[in-house]
Symmetry: C2
Subunit: 420 residues, 2 copies
Amino acid sequence: MATEGFRALDEKSLVEYIKATPSLCSKLGNQLDDLQIKEVGDGNLNFVYIVIGSAGSFVIKQQALPYIRCIGESWPMTKERAYFEAVTLKEHGRWCPDRVPEVYHFDRTMSLIAMRYLEPPHIILRKGLIAGVEYPLLAEHMSEYMSRTLFCTSLLYHSTTVHRQAVAEFCGNLELCRLTEQVVFSDPYKESQYNRWTSPYLDRDAEAVREDNALKLEVAELKSMFCERAQALIHGDLHTGSVMVTHDSTQVIDPEFAVYGPMGFDIGAFIGNLILAFFSQDGHADPVNDRKAYKQWILRMIEDTWNLFQKKFTTLWDEHKDGSGEAYLSAVYNNPELFLLAQRKYMKDLLHDSLGFGAAKMIRRIVGVAHVEDFESIHDASKRAYCERRALEFAKMLLKERRRFQTINEVVLAIQDLPS
Amino acid sequence: MATEGFRALDEKSLVEYIKATPSLCSKLGNQLDDLQIKEVGDGNLNFVYIVIGSAGSFVIKQQALPYIRCIGESWPMTKERAYFEAVTLKEHGRWCPDRVPEVYHFDRTMSLIAMRYLEPPHIILRKGLIAGVEYPLLAEHMSEYMSRTLFCTSLLYHSTTVHRQAVAEFCGNLELCRLTEQVVFSDPYKESQYNRWTSPYLDRDAEAVREDNALKLEVAELKSMFCERAQALIHGDLHTGSVMVTHDSTQVIDPEFAVYGPMGFDIGAFIGNLILAFFSQDGHADPVNDRKAYKQWILRMIEDTWNLFQKKFTTLWDEHKDGSGEAYLSAVYNNPELFLLAQRKYMKDLLHDSLGFGAAKMIRRIVGVAHVEDFESIHDASKRAYCERRALEFAKMLLKERRRFQTINEVVLAIQDLPS
Ligand SMILES: Nc1ncnc2c1ncn2[C@@H]1O[C@H](COP(=O)(O)OP(=O)(O)O)[C@@H](O)[C@H]1O
Ligand SMILES: Nc1ncnc2c1ncn2[C@@H]1O[C@H](COP(=O)(O)OP(=O)(O)O)[C@@H](O)[C@H]1O
Ligand SMILES: [Mg+2]
Ligand SMILES: [Mg+2]
Ligand SMILES: [Mg+2]
Ligand SMILES: [Mg+2]
Ligand SMILES: [Mg+2]
């Protein structure tokens, strides 16, 4: 681990750092006189500075603390995650440059990444969803990002040689994986000092999660899949807080949890967080806006995201079926009927994985350590608990019964059919 | 890769090597005067020398050729596999010292392992099965080896930290994995210059394998599991030719294909090769011995191996349920009913994986590049084809319908119920 030579920067020392780094100076058109620097980190692990000069700009992300910000020094965390974040931004950017900010500079010793500044009106998607804003290209863009990054880092696209080498490298990001294992797959299902929920309203609900044998059996399967299955280079934290949007633009940031893992973990994170956004809407309704139409829009996004993902992913597969991917050799899957059957089976399994991981991600946001602003911003605790309970009940059902859903439309219908 | 300093040894230079290696000299009680040296390699990749002195002995295995012996220089193969074999002998030996020959010396540059000589009457199990010899402790010993090595290298026993580090290391054995991927999961299902079968008898059968859509869909799933799922440190080549036996002793050798992979790949290799032995018996029957009783003994071994494996594996799990394994935290799987359900689900999935991989291993031995002596030693080609066809048909059924078997007894009954 790189600790030698590391210095946590503040706004002042950051300027010195920039001045001493030619690639950063040139990004600013060598106009370093009146730089505006603003710390905007809202995450739990890192510092993020926006740097704006008169002739250019960028964002600096430094993983400054060797522990988790919101919990404190009791939860140490390697700084090497900066390396995996930088490598993943570049690798995902290679396959989907329009949806990933360009990396300008990476300093491993300093755990520091400089990347494109996603200028206003870019905001974090989660905030847009809370505000009730529609993003017409969201499903199109997110399906593009997920299909390209997941397909192109899987055995559908590359050889097992390339794959095993890449898997080996990302095994190094194990501390971040362990955090996921704990907060997603373990803590919500046991007593843990870190867990919290809207108390006392959800006391019984949290207990019910801890006592649900069928649920815990399914969670074990998902946890094993997360720990053992190197299907593709996943982002690892693809909730709506890792996406920045405008009306026309969608950008995926913050892949520090990246690892070779199951594709459904990314797809599920995104869809699960959209479902959370859906269930939070009742808490944001007011006399001016009852959010009814907006709720339907969110459901449409869920449906479109998966359906477009499926379409783009299988189209990539069609295009590359004679390529270097080694999972389905064209000499073996050599007739159109068989090829179609293989794709259908693959996509059906992937849908079920995605629903399972999505549901697990929902549950942990309601009874685990880290909650989501969608619910947290509902100040009336009883109203918040009502929204959270409905989301939790749906997630539990989805996790246990995911295999009975054949299409995403059936999932959306199940949400629409819930009693209010 | 270590090529610098490498020299392929012959019987003469081997003596020089031994003399220059103190640990080997001392294994021979420093009595180096009239060493008997015999090359016994029957494999395709390596040279194996038995070294016997007046006061000690050992076996030297050198992976001398950077390609596969039987195919020639057209199929290059890294010498680093010696490293993975040595590491695995030691790791598996650590968990199950009674079933793995002790490693005395490893020389990475020379791709050379010295290990305990498994003295006569040890013979390769496959040869014993062809000769019709019963080994009363076989199921007991093999279930012990598999349960210990697989359990203790899985997330049931160790932390995800240890696991990801070990997975990363074994990703380096990718060339041997690629060989498995090709010869087990790809070549038998397509036209390949390497494939062969008992022609012309099985021409139509080989073609049927290549045209069986349902079979090829299932094989894709198994191949993905092999390539993606790092469940435990598997031997990787656990057929009956990798086991040496006497009446009282069972020793597992030759783990050069070791990798973190699905446990079912090892269990299936062993059971699948026992099933091959079963189907070959009709070809070895003669007026003196109709092999009927021996066939029943093989079936009993199949059943006992799995059932004892299951028992020993779950016993280990019971014993270590509060240990460092992170797949099933005791705080989550915290009531006896749930814990039992979790074990049952795990073992049911593992049985299905094992049957699938076992069947795939059977198929490849009949229509792929490398055949087994069980059948090859049946000189009458039409008789051989008859035995092979029955094995092939059973394997195809098993691969496609493995999930309908709830116990190993049902599999054995299905074999017994076959029309002759
Ligand atoms: N490239 C960028 N352009 C603009 N804002 C950014 C950029 N990267 C991060 N941010 C802002 O900083 C916040 C924290 O960044 P993020 O990478 O998510 O860090 P963390 O890992 O700490 O969550 C984001 O939520 C976003 O508001
Ligand atoms: N430790 C040993 N003691 C006795 N014989 C051995 C030993 N190891 C290997 N052999 C003999 O050498 C043969 C080849 O060894 P093996 O490790 O299987 O090499 P390969 O990888 O070439 O198949 C075995 O089938 C067995 O007959
Ligand atoms: Mg973030
Ligand atoms: Mg982050
Ligand atoms: Mg061998
Ligand atoms: Mg061999
Ligand atoms: Mg071998």
